[in-house]
């Protein structure tokens, strides 16, 4: 009985850590636990969550997609430029970046599945290449309303209100990016848990040979995972542009590490020990809560990283001590 209690507390160790952090901030500062602030936190993690969902998918097939940051950078400037430079309608502004995300995913998949370069290596090189492409595309400039063009003219377009609504708008009092994020998390969770395709991803990642022998088209499944990874990163890029109303250069660089951290914390949520989208979401939540709460606490900015690192270690340690205790 006591053992069981211990087991549960370990199983939910990461959630307990998140809970403790949450309660701590709520007590310290009454404004932390306000309706508005909760949604601010959720909104602030929406972009990184989308990117992290992509990373989760690539990790499920036992891969690793390092190129997501660059994909965000490229798609965010492309989305902005389609409006600012070319005055395209919303539909084009949304589909072109998504298509780019898919194309990058296909490129990764080609290198990994066909050329058979190991995943980390392949996506690292794609990361460099896409980073170069996005800078070449804008010649190093950020893209914003009516920006002056290199040839001396002024860009004709602006980032449209309907586009910005995606990142800044509200529906029934809920921020649009939060709604999108929650829908995406739930949809991907259902996809992964309750559909054949989702299980094919897990089976392929868990044992590629077994998957092949079960008649799963592993190469197609892995390709799909990388394409989805690119696609979700592209959504992240679109939301990024919508959130800040312009296309910033190198916007995605910091998102890579942050999304990887979210995915890793997610490993341990519910004692799963494997990548899962609910866990990823909670990982992103933990990081978002820390940033928000520590800012409110007025902790010196330079110690954020220590606290972040410490809390992450704690969350992970609880789970892995548990997982290994069970195994041993």
């Amino acid at each position: 009985m006591k053992d069981k209690l211990l087991d549960i507390s370990f199983r939910y160790g990461t959630l307990v850590v998140i809970g403790v952090v949450f309660i701590f901030f709520s007590i310290i500062n009454p404004n932390f636990l306000s309706y508005d602030n909760i949604f601010d936190i959720l909104r602030s993690i929406s972009i990184v969550t989308f990117v992290a969902i992509g990373v989760t998918l690539s990790q499920i097939v036992d891969g690793f997609d390092l190129s997501v940051g660059s994909t965000v950078s490229l798609t965010t400037v492309v989305a902005a430029s389609l409006m600012v430079w070319y005055e395209q309608p919303l539909i084009v502004v949304l589909t072109v970046p998504l298509a780019i995300g898919i194309a990058i995913g296909l490129l990764n998949a080609f290198l990994i599945v066909k050329v058979r370069i190991p995943d980390l290596l392949a996506t690292l090189t794609v990361m460099y290449t896409i980073a170069g492409v996005h800078k070449t595309y804008t010649q190093g400039f950020s893209v914003y309303n009516n920006m002056p063009m290199p040839d001396g003219t002024t860009a004709p377009g602006v980032v449209s209100e309907s586009f910005k609504w995606l990142g800044q708008g509200k529906v029934l009092g809920l921020p649009v990016p939060v709604i999108l994020m929650i829908v995406a998390v739930i949809a991907v969770h259902i996809f992964l848990t309750y559909t054949r395709w989702g299980r094919q991803l897990y089976i392929t990642g868990g044992n590629r040979e077994a998957a092949r022998l079960s008649g799963i088209p592993v190469n197609r499944v892995r390709t799909a995972a990388y394409v989805l990874s690119g696609l979700f990163a592209a959504v992240g890029g679109i939301l990024f542009a919508a959130r800040i109303g312009s296309g910033q250069i190198d916007a995605g660089v910091p998102l890579l590490m942050e999304s990887v951290a979210a995915v890793f914390v997610g490993y341990s949520v519910l004692g799963a020990g494997k990548p899962n989208v609910i866990g990823t979401f909670f990982g992103a939540v933990l990081i978002g809560i820390l940033l928000n709460g520590l800012t409110m606490l007025n902790v010196p900015y330079f110690s954020f990283d220590i606290i972040k690192g410490g809390v992450l270690v704690l969350a992970l340690a609880v789970t892995f001590v548990h997982l290994n205790r069970r195994k041993a």
């Binding site: 309750y194 089976i203 868990g206 044992n207 040979e209 022998l213 079960s214 008649g215 799963i216 494997k274």
Partner: protein, 506 residues
């Protein structure tokens, strides 16, 4: 299940080469519905390769496959399944997904290829039902990574049953199973047979093969040698065709002089698997430890080797109490183990034979930290000669050796360590009769040199043949001790099921 006993599968002129190896040359094979067809051959004869061609894991270079007279193209496992062919692979880990649950692994193919939406309640119930059909009660929500080898094997069996296949290939399914569990498996095969399913059965245990099979096919060096009815087959004759030379299957027991006590174990325990074991071992003695699967033999050997840490108990070697927290400690003290899972634990499959053999004595082979390469090579050549590893190439990667030769490397690497106690955990698993007697000879030689030997196995006949003294283990305890003279299979079996009542209480 298909009911026509006429269903017929034929393979004709199958040829398959790997770089440097011709694994199959123009092999013919056929399988009828409602029969069990035994496939025999020494390690490396090409049995698994032939079956992998049949099940779509490999593509043959030449040859044709027909099902009921109609030629079929099998270029992927999916193709094979479409024609009702299903394979339970020899290396269970290649076919299981460790991080998923038992239920998912049982129903893997259905989940992977079935309908889009999954209903977990129904799937779990279904998996439990299938497991029950084959007499197992493994909890379906457990992760496969937490199962023992035997349990994993059962999961794979359950998968084949779930499949309702017309042709099922069992590639050495009994290697990791105890007698009892093997019997269960045979019962399942009988049932499948009655339902018109054709089974291929690969095993190195001749007794099983002649008992359960209707027909047998023998292969040698990638070629088909003969196919005949199993009923009146003589073991000696089969072995001769398999090995291509006359051979008497027996356990060459060499006489050894017993010395003083070398190892003394008292009250050794860990969790529920080893619950207080006392034993002692003398120099030159071969101590057989026998028990059903799950009796805790592997656990016991790992404790003595420091691979797992004991909760309590004492291990005294030559009067000195050992502190075992890592295998390193055991090796230094002079206790070594040839573990059960050869490919994952016994050898480094990606490394060369030479590197594997030099591993335990790297320190001795090096000067000031630098490995003396000439020395290392001649050491490897010496051992290869002594063990009869084939091919005799020190640079060959171990993964390219056949099972028996891999096992020789796993045993041989410990020979020069000059340890006081050698433990062997199921060393003959998946090893052909020729290699098996080589291994027995090696063990006998060690005993003659005055080493203490602990031989753990669930093969009662082997234990009876090789051991000077036998301990029977059951549910983590030693339940009986028999001398070589008084030991019989019946006595062992009685003791082996002795601990059961106790376990229910615990």
């Amino acid at each position: 299940m298909a009911t026509t006993s006429q269903s017929l599968l034929q393979m004709k002129g199958i040829t398959k080469s790997f770089p440097g190896v011709r694994a199959l040359s123009a092999v013919d094979f056929d399988l009828r519905g409602g029969e069990v067809h035994g496939l025999l051959g020494a390690n490396g004869a090409g049995k698994s390769t032939l079956m992998k061609v049949l099940s779509g894991a490999y593509l043959a270079d030449e040859g044709a496959i027909t099902v009921e007279g109609k030629p079929v193209q099998i270029s992927s496992p999916k193709d094979a399944m479409r024609h009702g062919i299903y394979c339970v692979y020899q290396e269970v880990d290649t076919a299981l997904v460790p991080e998923l649950t038992v239920a998912e692994n049982v129903l893997l193919d259905r989940i992977a290829n079935g309908r889009t939406w999954l209903r977990w309640g129904a799937l779990n119930r279904e998996a439990a039902k299938i497991l029950k059909m084959i007499g197992s009660e493994i909890p379906v929500r457990l992760k496969v990574s937490q199962l023992t080898i035997a349990q994993k094997q059962l999961v794979l069996l359950a998968r084949a049953v779930a499949h309702e296949a017309r042709f099922i290939i069992f590639d050495e399914p009994t290697a990791p199973l105890s007698l009892e569990e093997s019997e269960q498996l045979f019962a399942i095969m009988e049932r499948l047979k009655a339902g018109g399913v054709g089974c291929v059965f690969i095993s190195h245990r001749l007794a099983e093969v002649t008992r359960i099979c209707d027909r047998i096919t023998v292969m040698r060096d990638g070629s088909h040698v003969l196919t005949r009815s199993a009923k009146d087959a003589e073991h000696a004759e089969i072995i001769e065709t398999m090995l291509g030379k006359t051979f008497a299957e027996e356990f060459p027991k060499l006489p050894a002089k017993l010395g003083g006590t070398v190892l003394e174990v008292t009250g050794l325990r860990r969790g529920t698997k080893v619950r207080g074991v006392d034993l002692s071992l003398r120099e030159g003695e071969i101590l057989g430890i026998v028990g059903l699967v799950g009796a805790g033999k592997t656990e016991l050997s790992r404790l003595l080797f420091g691979a797992d840490r004991a909760d309590g108990g004492e291990v005294v070697l030559r009067g000195k109490r050992l502190r075992l927290s890592e295998p390193e400690d055991a090796v230094r003290a002079g206790v070594v183990l040839v573990p059960e899972e050869r490919r994952k634990q016994g050898v480094l499959v990606d490394e060369s034979v030479q590197h594997n053999l030099s591993l335990p004595i790297l320190r001795r082979l090096s000067a000031a930290g630098f490995i003396r390469r000439g020395e290392e090579r001649s050491h490897a050549e010496r051992l290869i000669g002594q063990l009869g590893v084939k091919p005799a190439l020190p640079g060959r990667a171990v993964k390219h050796l056949s099972g028996g030769n891999q096992q020789k490397v796993a045993v041989g690497k410990w020979l020069p360590t000059d340890a006081a106690v050698y433990m062997f955990d199921e060393p003959t698993k998946g090893v052909d009769v020729g290699a098996k007697s080589d291994i027995f000879r090696l063990i006998g030689q060690l005993a003659q040199e005055g080493k203490g030997i602990i031989y753990l196995s669930c093969e009662i006949s082997e234990i009876l043949g090789i051991a000077d003294r036998i301990l029977v283990m059951s549910y983590g305890r030693i339940t009986g001790e028999l001398s070589r003279d008084e030991a019989t299979a019946e006595a062992i079996l009685t003791y082996a099921s002795a601990g059961e009542a106790e376990r229910v209480e615990g």
